[in-house]
Symmetry: C2
Subunit: 253 residues, 2 copies
């Protein structure tokens, strides 16, 4: 109850471009690749400090999404504990693995590609889709096809397809819904220690990914009181809407 | 992983007044008492249905707080499961009780009244304060002095002091910060079943209360990714600011 938490951490702002008004959807691929490499290099560097247990990379766009700077930027916050929400996700992945002896995210990729209904984009290394149990309208996840728990171990040849996946998703979201405000969050493994519990099996059961949360609805009393979510837009409709808008745009071009 | 959840529930809207523009801070005490009795009576009635496991009473004020109706109202949502966030709170209370053999909320009341620094209001039956670990600026909790896990078992003589506590808190918040948007959520025990786990000890370890969350800051990527909160206003400063503003207002009156 009264554990002390050491006052250690880091907060970095990653400036994505010199252009004050350029959105991520309009970036050149090499700019996005540089941004992703900055995420990777800063994470690798900070993980050399054994006091840091987790490194969260995220992006807030728009004042409703909590952005306090307009210039295109991402953020990185390193914490001396594994955050509550990350622990919950790791424990959930471990529980699934104990039942199935398979990574839940690898299973989700197979299921989404078989179903096809919620896919937003696919390339040689990444799949993007509106998840089956979307909490928010037009929520999207980008998953690497190669099983890997840690974003910071992404291979050099996986950076260009991730840049393409990210820009495609940003363009589909932006052109369908008029550039809505959003957050995206990189979900990745924590620093490893020889401990019991969910740390032991992360290499097998966890799978890094990016979650994109458009801020179209408000969090109200019901969500605060329950941690349940009310989502009025089924993910199949969101994916179909984005595909149709893109098709219309291509035909008009 | 694949539990089915039955499609059972209830959603009720409690209209607080015929006056479309009247805020809760401006209500007469007897109106607030009627509202609180409606919370109690509807909860008692719905709990007769054994399929309902939890009844959440809450209020959203302002579009940022998720309100979709302007007319003063509260809401009640009954669910066929105990919500995730409620389970977490119940488990936390149980864990404290296992260590101390005391209710954590009774201990918080004692500690807050001893410290005095974060108290916003006190009457014969209720204490209102900005909690020590406030997640949000000007967050406030109203706790009954009498240990009781269930709001729906509130005694008739406790309704008038709760109405006074609620109006005082609403007035202090409203006059200090210019009627900010907010949510409040009634935290109370779930339906009881003869089960293992946190259900067994709720009578001893849980304590109903109201949590008031002013919507002054935004939930951004860091909060979504961690379930941690960044609060720029210490609770002592929030309580002092509300006390000072009230003192100034009384002197000017």
């Amino acid at each position: 109850m009264y554990d002390m938490m050491s006052g250690i951490g880091a907060h970095e702002v990653i400036i994505e471009t010199p252009d004050h008004n350029r959105k991520l959807r309009d970036a050149e691929f090499d700019e996005i690749e540089l941004m992703l490499r900055a995420y990777q290099e800063r994470t690798q560097d900070l993980f050399q400090d054994p006091r840091l247990r987790y490194i969260l990379v995220f992006k807030n766009v728009g004042d409703q999404a909590g952005a306090s700077l307009y210039h295109p930027h991402s953020q990185l916050i390193a914490t001396p504990v594994t955050p509550k929400k990350v622990q919950e996700e790791l424990k959930g992945a471990k529980k699934y693995w104990e039942q199935k002896e398979r990574c839940v995210y690898c299973d989700i990729i197979r299921q989404e590609m078989d179903a096809g209904l919620r896919i937003v984009d696919e390339n040689e290394a990444f799949v993007s889709f509106c998840p089956y149990a979307s909490r928010f309208p037009f929520e999207m996840w980008i998953l690497p096809k190669r099983h890997s728990p840690d974003f910071c171990k992404i291979r050099a040849e996986e950076i260009p397809p991730l840049a393409r996946a990210l820009r495609t998703v940003m363009r589909k979201l932006g052109s369908s819904l008029g550039n809505p405000q959003f957050n995206y969050i990189l979900h990745t493994g924590p620093a490893r220690f020889a401990r019991t519990g969910y740390w032991q099996t992360i290499d097998e059961d966890y799978h890094w990914h990016i979650e994109i949360i458009p801020r179209l609805t408000k969090i109200a009393g019901f969500e605060w009181g329950t941690s349940f979510y009310i989502n009025p837009t089924p993910p199949e409709e969101a994916a179909a809407y984005m595909a149709e808008r893109e098709y219309t745009r291509e035909r008009e071009a």
